[in-house]
């Protein structure tokens, strides 16, 4: 479990805190980046002033993406991520409060790797995060 980068795109501060708390609870030690809106996320990945390009950071191992984001919404970000040849292999897990079938469908069509609904129950919430980490980070082997 070396430095594995996780990007969290979430606008709700409390949700961010809960995610980070859950990550900590799961025992993951990694660098993470929090983007508070869609524009920030896009800038990070695709803008020359963004960290991944300007600082030549290696790409993250996982992106947790909320759909309800200000400025540029999550679906847009997902679309951009999955259409760029550099970023499309990064696992994206949509972690959203929307249980709408159309959101789910659209996300899968855009190539999302997982679509999870944020549970109301905090225990469930932590469990979800733990499962995400287990699957996409601990057990996943990257193509490169």
């Amino acid at each position: 479990m070396d430095n594995m980068d996780i990007v969290i795109v979430e606008d709700n501060y409390h949700d961010v805190e809960m995610i980070l708390d859950a990550l900590d609870e799961s025992g993951i030690k990694s660098d993470f980046l929090v983007c508070r809106d869609g524009a920030e996320a896009v800038r990070q990945f695709f803008d020359p002033t963004g960290g991944f390009i300007s600082e030549k950071r290696r790409l993250p191992k996982l992106i947790l993406l909320d759909l309800k984001l200000p400025k540029i919404n999550g679906m847009e970000v997902l679309k951009l991520l999955k259409s760029d040849h550099k970023t499309k292999y990064i696992p994206v897990v949509v972690f959203t409060s929307s249980n709408e079938a159309r959101d789910r469908k659209e996300s899968y069509e855009l190539g999302v790797n997982s679509y999870l609904v944020k549970p109301l129950d905090a225990d469930q919430f932590a469990v979800h995060i733990g499962q995400i980490i287990d699957y996409w980070i601990r057990l996943n082997v990257n193509a490169d």
Binding site: M18, D121, A122, D123
Partner: protein
């Protein structure tokens, strides 16, 4: 349509042609043969003639020759002459002796005009002559003299030419000798010179019959030439001059000397075709050739030839004409037959048409008499054909003068159209008709009569009457109705206007509703989302505190935090229920045939998973299939069954039963339990939203489940109701209407 000549006729023609050709050929060949025969005959006759002529000529020549020899013999056989000659020679000066000799010679000369008679002695010297002589004469004739003495006979020489005077003569050489002591002693020779021109040539030349080209030649062979000895008809200066090489076999003279006998054909020195006959002159080297041009012989043939040709042509022409006539006759016969057939056919066709017509047809003569009728006319007048023909046309009408005017009009103007008349039947009944008539003329344009057709219009007339009545009545009715209609129309217009207004309102309302719905949808969605977020935070932080500050919290704090968490959960559920309840109003139903038993099983399995510890006696009776939205009906069962599960938790032996049955035109489904039941007094609160008949700490729930069930069933057009008894259990019923048309799904 006349058929083209059939094959048989053509074949006949071919046969006729063949016969004609072969007959013509036969005639031609026959004519040819006749011609050939004729030619041969003529040729043969000519040859015969020529042979005869040749014979004659030869006889004449021989006779002439014999005469000469006879004359010579007189001298030759005169012994005293020989003595006289001898004496003379001994005494040439004696005039008596000379006279003795001369007298015999002179008498010989007298008998025939000999050219000369010469007495020649042994030394070939000429001693006495009758005419002038050539001193060398004796020497020149030495050979022949010797020859004569050798033979001891008279020799007649061939025709030879005298070089001095270029004249021809024949020498008759008479050896004079004395017999002494049976020895013959030559004394001298007497030579008689004969001029062939005198008698010989003319004899030869003379043609016994009139002929243009006939001539005779006397020829003999000299070495490789054939020499002509006499004067010829067509060429001058021929004797002994005209000669031909013996190789020219086509020349009759050549043929002659080569030994050809009798008559033959040849080509003479003029390059003309000739007939020739040849005879050798006996005792000479001469040959007599009598020839005549074929042209002359065949002159008559030419005429005959043309006659034959004429005859042939004539015969062929006649034959040809005959054949042509026969053929034309056949052709004409055939065409005539064809024509008659066609005519008959056309006639039959026309007659059939006339008879078939239902309209009475007549032809009327210029005097107004009927000339011809068809069956319909007989029928309509009630009379027979025989009665009708010849009678007055106008006599069969109720108005005869009108009828007469009618047909007279046609004779004037040529045609009449729809002329109304009434035909009177023999029974008295009259039939209204319309007459259409035209003039008809023959091929010269002469008017033959009128052709008239009647059209029965009784039915028409009646129909017209009825129509008028109906029409009048109709007009009346129409007026009445029009008024009614006008009134109704006005009312309708009013109503339409009102309706349109209402429609506009409805459209507006619908639009409003749609907008409202959309707004509601997004509103409830975002509200639920926004409501959940803080709840999540509250629950989350509470959990964090409970977890991290476990050691610093007393039990009461822990309890209160747990309560915080419990309540947030409940709120979450409330929000979900509210959201789905509000959705029900807007959701579309996808009707399909439902396997209710299957649905129930699915729901029950899910419930078992959620409540693994509950032991429930679950019974599925037969459930008839129904029609409805699968998701929604599943929700109905889910809510009803989970309620049943919930409200039987206090019972040791929990029993839940579900089933259905058909009653009239609806299916009734039920869910029955032996749970805590409910008080029927509060029945109207049962299906209300957020209306609960039990407290939350007894049975959790938001009180929206049954409201949802009711809403769903109502949307399907069904009914919900329930029966319950406190502590005894409850039964919940719902119906789904049965419709005939279904989509498979």
């Amino acid at each position: 349509m006349i058929n083209p000549l059939p094959r048989t006729i053509n074949k006949t023609l071919l046969i006729a042609l063949a016969i004609f050709i072969s007959a013509s050929s036969a005639i031609t060949i026959f004519g040819f043969y006749i011609y050939q025969y004729q030619k041969k005959e003529i040729g043969r006759a000519a040859s015969q003639q020529l042979s005869a002529i040749a014979e004659l000529k030869v006889w004449e020549i021989t006779t002439w020759r014999n005469e000469r020899i006879g004359d010579a013999n007189v001298i030759y056989q005169n012994d005293s002459f020989a003595e006289n000659v001898a004496e003379y020679f001994n005494n040439p000066l004696s005039p008596e002796l000379k006279e003795n000799v001369l007298s015999l010679l002179a008498s010989t000369q007298k008998s025939y005009h000999y050219q000369n008679i010469l007495l020649i002695d042994k030394n070939k010297t000429v001693r006495l002559t009758m005419q002038k002589y050539d001193p060398d004469f004796g020497f020149r004739h030495a050979d022949i003299i010797n020859q004569a003495f050798d033979l001891n006979d008279i020799i007649v020489s061939d025709i030879h030419r005298d070089e001095r005077d270029k004249s021809e003569h024949i020498s008759v050489v008479i050896p004079i000798s004395m017999i002494k002591k049976s020895r013959s002693i030559p004394i001298g020779t007497v030579i008689i010179l004969v001029d062939p021109q005198l008698r010989l040539y003319p004899t030869i030349k003379k043609w016994p019959m009139p002929s243009a080209t006939g001539e005779a030649l006397l020829v003999h062979r000299e070495g490789n030439d054939v020499v002509c000895l006499n004067e010829l008809r067509h060429v001058k200066n021929t004797p002994l001059i005209l000669r031909h090489p013996i190789t020219k076999i086509s020349l009759p003279p050549v043929k002659a000397v080569l030994g050809f006998q009798s008559a033959f054909e040849g080509i003479d020195y003029r390059k003309k075709k000739v007939f020739a006959a040849v005879k050798a002159v006996p005792d000479t080297t001469w040959f007599l050739v009598a020839k005549i041009d074929q042209e002359e012989i065949f002159a008559s043939l030419t005429m005959r030839f043309w006659l034959i040709v004429f005859f042939i042509l004539g015969a062929i022409s006649i034959l040809g004409i005959l054949v042509a006539y026969v053929w034309r006759y056949q052709q004409a016969k055939y065409y005539r037959e064809q024509y008659e057939l066609e005519y008959k056919r056309a006639f039959m066709y026309a007659r059939s048409l006339i008879e078939a017509s239902l309209d009475p047809l007549v032809t009327i003569s210029t005097e107004g008499k009927i000339m011809d009728v068809n069956k319909s006319t007989e029928f309509i007048t009630g009379r027979t054909r025989n009665e009708l023909i010849g009678s007055d046309f106008s006599s069969y009408f109720t108005e005869p003068e009108k009828a007469e005017r009618g047909y007279k009009h046609v004779f004037e103007k040529g045609v009449i159209r729809d002329y109304p008349l009434s035909i009177r039947n023999i029974s008295g009944q009259a039939t209204d008709v319309l007459y259409n008539a035209v003039l008809y003329k023959d091929e010269n344009g002469e008017v033959q009569g009128i052709f008239a057709a009647a059209r029965d219009v009784t039915a028409l007339r009646r129909a017209e009457k009825e129509l008028k009545v109906a029409h009048d009545e109709l007009e009346l009715r129409v007026e009445e109705r029009t008024d009614d209609l006008k009134r109704a129309n006005n009312a309708l217009e009013l109503e339409i206007r009102e309706r349109k207004e209402v429609e506009k309102l409805i459209a507006l309302r619908t639009k409003l509703l749609e907008v409202t719905n959309k707004e509601l949808e997004s509103f409830s969605y975002s509200v639920s989302h926004d409501l959940r977020a803080p709840l999540r935070a509250i629950d989350g932080y509470s959990r964090m505190i409970l977890r991290d500050q476990r050691d610093h919290l007393n039990d009461e704090a822990k309890r209160k935090f747990d309560l915080i968490r419990t309540n947030t959960q409940m709120m979450g559920r409330l929000i979900d229920d509210l959201l789905s309840f509000s959705r029900l109003g807007r959701l579309e139903i996808n009707m399909s045939k439902l396997d209710m038993e299957g649905l129930v099983n699915d729901v029950w399995m899910e419930l078992q998973i959620i409540n693994p510890d509950r032991k429930i006696d679950f019974n599925i009776q037969s459930i008839p299939p129904g029609q409805g939205d699968r998701t929604l009906i599943k929700q109905v069962y889910s809510n009803l069954l989970s309620n049943a599960v919930k409200y039987t938790k206090s019972k040791d032996k929990a029993y839940i039963e579900t089933g259905g049955y058909q009653e009239r035109n609806e299916n009734i489904y039920y869910v029955k339990d032996n749970g805590v039941g409910f008080d029927m007094d509060y029945y109207d609160k049962l299906f209300g939203v957020f209306q609960r008949l039990h407290s939350t700490d007894e049975y959790e729930g938001t009180g929206v489940g049954l409201a949802i069930v009711q809403r769903i069933i109502h949307r399907h057009g069904g009914r919900v109701w329930a029966e319950g008894q406190v502590e005894e259990g409850a039964v919940f019923y719902f119906t789904l209407p049965i419709k005939d048309c279904l989509t498979n799904g």
